[in-house]
């Protein structure tokens, strides 16, 4: 973003990468897929790079308001300085905090989750689905809490999966009844409290029950949790966990849009 700004350039959207998208090896691939899709659609975008910090979601939910405020206020300062209007992010936690919590601190933007944005690109014809990457495949979808139940977005990711040529089967707990992967509320960064089993194992059982070949996700932390959960069930080879952007990238017409 600093580069774009120095050259007096304008962008349509800021791609908010997030900590997972920046550093987690698996989520980095999602960031790359997303960047590629933006390129194909001919969208002018930028990232904040080293000027981006964690939105503060895990700190606030752990109860550490000091750390949250430190991160949030610095991010808002950066975003306002570049006069950012529209933000797209592949992480529903970043999405929620940017959209719902930053306004109280002086940062108001048009924030979109990448499934919502990709759905728009598909509707407007900037992205076109082609090819049979998922032909004959059973696809299912895991609602992340922060996109689904918390922000009410159940449809956009389903529209995207339905645009592919596979068959979408719902998990037994889906939409507002969706079961958490176990990562939220800063659980990702601590050991589980004592219990009978891990939450991601419970969720992996739902996925196996659906007999899907691929489970679409919209959150880097869900991807980690579901992958681990399936591994714990010894089923990592039966079901693939993909971000929806990766699924779209596999089926999209790669000709770069004007």
């Amino acid at each position: 973003m600093a580069e774009v700004s120095a050259n007096g350039g304008k962008i349509e959207v800021l791609f908010w990468v997030g900590c997972a998208g920046s550093f987690d090896a698996r989520a980095q691939k999602v960031s790359a897929a997303m960047a590629k899709l933006l390129d194909i659609a001919g969208i002018s975008y930028a990232i904040l790079g080293n000027e981006e910090m964690c939105t503060g979601d895990p700190a606030r939910r752990a109860g550490n308001e000091f750390v949250f405020q430190m991160l949030a206020l610095q991010n808002i300062n950066t975003l306002n300085q570049y006069e950012i209007k529209t933000i797209v992010t592949a992480c529903p936690h970043c999405f929620n905090t940017l959209k719902n919590e930053y306004p109280d601190l002086g940062g108001s933007y048009h924030v979109m989750h990448h499934t919502q944005y990709l759905n728009e690109l598909l509707s407007s014809g900037k992205l076109k689905i082609e090819g049979g990457a998922f032909k004959g495949k059973k696809l299912t979808y895991h609602d992340s809490c922060y996109l689904g139940r918390i922000n009410g977005e159940y449809q956009a990711p389903r529209d995207l999966i339905e645009a592919l040529d596979g068959d979408l089967v719902e998990l037994k707990r889906s939409k507002s009844n969706g079961l958490c992967c176990g990562a939220g509320g800063a659980q990702m960064f601590k050991e589980d409290e004592p219990g009978k089993k891990r939450i991601n194992t419970e969720r992996a059982e739902d996925i196996l029950e659906s007999q899907a070949h691929i489970v679409g996700a919209n959150c880097p932390f869900c991807i980690t949790m579901l992958t681990d959960g399936l591994q714990a069930k010894g089923s990592q080879d039966e079901v693939m966990v993909l971000d929806i952007s990766e699924m779209i990238l596999q089926s999209v017409n790669h000709k770069v849009h004007g």
Binding site: V17, C19, S22, F23, Q28, A32, A35, I47, G49, N50, E52, M53, C54, G56, P58, A59, R60, R61, A62, G63, N64, E65, F66, V67, Q69, M70, L71, L73, N77, N96, K99, N100, E101, D104, L105, C145, Y146, R149, I150, N151, S176, N177, L179, C180, G182, G184, G185, A186, M188, F189, K190, E191, E193, P194, G195, K196, R198, I199, T201, E202
Partner: protein, 448 residues
């Protein structure tokens, strides 16, 4: 004579009820100011759809239909209750029969149908709770009083219906024997069959006794309910309405901002701070119910312990100690304890400021050496994934997540404690702005 007894009992019940409900309201007022901006149009819409219309109950349709039966029977029986009050005071018999005419039969008929359905539903609920033992109704937090409470309510409801059918059944037979005093009611779908079957060969006086017994049974059980509710989970029949009205309409994903901390961090970062009122706050978050809002406490009194929240809680499902229902029950128990101690005016609960002697017990100097953490353990609050499943599940818009987060805030900000695993996360967030301590550049992925 019976009119005087009825009037005395009624006045006594009203007096005691007033006292009991004021006790509950004063316990709710132990909470802090509630800052949510309530839009009356949204509030009333919620009252209409969610409280009155039971919209959220229908996520689980079997209990929803059974509950709807008891609920509509309860609502419609209020008409009969008005008549009972009039008859009781003025010594009339079915006073509304003359006023309402043909409509009266229709109302009585509907009440009879609904009462029978309510009786079936009540039995079904007793079976679900005690024989089938539906998972969410057999969790450990219900052991003891909560379980007894639930069963007492159901038995009370059965007594209410029994009263109605004794009264109507005997009345039906009397309508044939003594039409002068017992006017014909054309539509009594249950009693016209039940009455003659049970009481058909009885004499006039015995029938009158049974009719009166049914009448008194019904009215006395209603009065008992009124006095019992402030001690029971069943209080939701009243509190669901205000609780739904006062639901915070702001986005679900937004956790309440803490302006004091925001301003402090702003000045730390050299940013402009709007107005610094310099309010000294010793503690952040909540360590007791007095640090929660009155809405959180209203939530706890509205909770009817149905356990829909706990049944969908990912932590609870996987065997962790956290149960959102238990969190709400604990808040109510603690509010009861503090409220009772405060009303006792016992000076032993008053803590002197700077060692001074205190003469009056107030909410500000109250101390019993306990806190909400004696009711809700750290293990419970640490298990929450903030997934909002409990918030989504509650039919009466209770938010168990809010107090959990307030307790976490107290633990982290005021006690500097918390799960040790979080310490490296906080450190790394403070030092590098990332949840992980990672040496790479944030743009490393772009070079892949």
């Amino acid at each position: 004579m019976s009119q005087i007894i009825f009037l005395l009992i009624t006045i006594g019940v009203a007096f005691l009820a007033l006292k009991q409900y004021r006790r509950v309201l004063s316990n709710i007022r132990l909470g802090k100011k509630y800052e949510a901006k309530i839009e009356p149009s949204v509030g009333w819409k919620n009252v209409f759809l969610i409280a009155f219309g039971q919209k959220k109950m229908f996520k689980r349709w079997i209990p929803a239909v059974l509950h709807l039966g008891i609920y509509t029977a309860f609502l419609l029986t209020q008409i009969e209750l008005i008549e009972i009050l009039i008859d009781g005071i003025f010594g009339t018999h079915r006073a509304m029969h003359h006023v309402l005419g043909g409509m009266y039969s229709g109302i009585i008929g509907t009440i009879e149908f609904l009462s029978l359905f309510a009786l079936v539903a009540t039995i079904a609920f007793l079976v679900r709770r005690n024989i089938i033992k539906v998972d969410r109704l057999a969790k450990p937090e219900l052991n003891g009083w909560p379980k007894l409470d639930a069963n007492l309510i159901l038995l009370g409801e059965m007594l209410l219906v029994t009263g109605i059918f004794m009264m109507n059944g005997a009345d039906r037979v009397l309508q044939n024997i003594d039409p002068e005093h017992f006017a014909k009611i054309t539509s009594m779908p249950i009693s016209s069959w039940f009455g003659p079957m049970m009481f058909g060969d009885m004499g006039h006086d015995a029938l009158v006794s049974i009719e009166r017994f049914g009448w008194w049974l019904h009215v006395l059980v209603v009065y008992a309910f009124i006095l019992y509710l402030p001690y029971s989970k069943h209080l939701h029949i009243f509190f669901a309405f205000p609780n739904v009205y006062f639901h915070d309409p702001s986005p679900r994903g937004k956790i309440e901002n803490m302006p004091e901390i925001m301003n402090e961090v702003k000045s730390m970062l050299g940013m402009e701070v709007a107005v610094s009122e310099n309010t000294e706050i010793a503690d952040f978050g909540a360590k007791d119910i007095t640090d929660l809002t009155w809405k959180n406490i209203l939530d706890s009194y509205t909770c009817t312990e149905c356990g829909r929240c706990t049944a969908v809680c990912p932590a609870n499902i996987t065997g962790k100690k956290l149960s959102p229902r238990k969190v709400m029950m604990s808040i109510r128990d603690r509010a009861e304890e503090i409220g009772t101690n405060l009303r006792s005016n016992d000076i032993k609960f008053a803590q002197g400021q700077n060692g001074e002697e205190t003469t009056a017990l107030t909410i500000d100097n109250y101390s019993d050496g306990k806190s909400l953490f004696d009711y809700i353990s750290k293990e419970e609050i640490h298990a929450c994934t903030t997934c909002n499943a409990c918030v989504e599940a509650c039919p009466v818009m209770i938010n168990p997540l809010e107090p959990i987060l307030q307790l976490r805030r107290y633990e982290i900000l005021s006690e500097s404690a918390g799960p040790p695993d979080w310490v490296p996360m906080f450190t790394s967030l403070e030092n590098s702005g990332c949840v992980w301590q990672i040496p790479e550049e944030r743009t490393a992925w772009t070079h892949q």
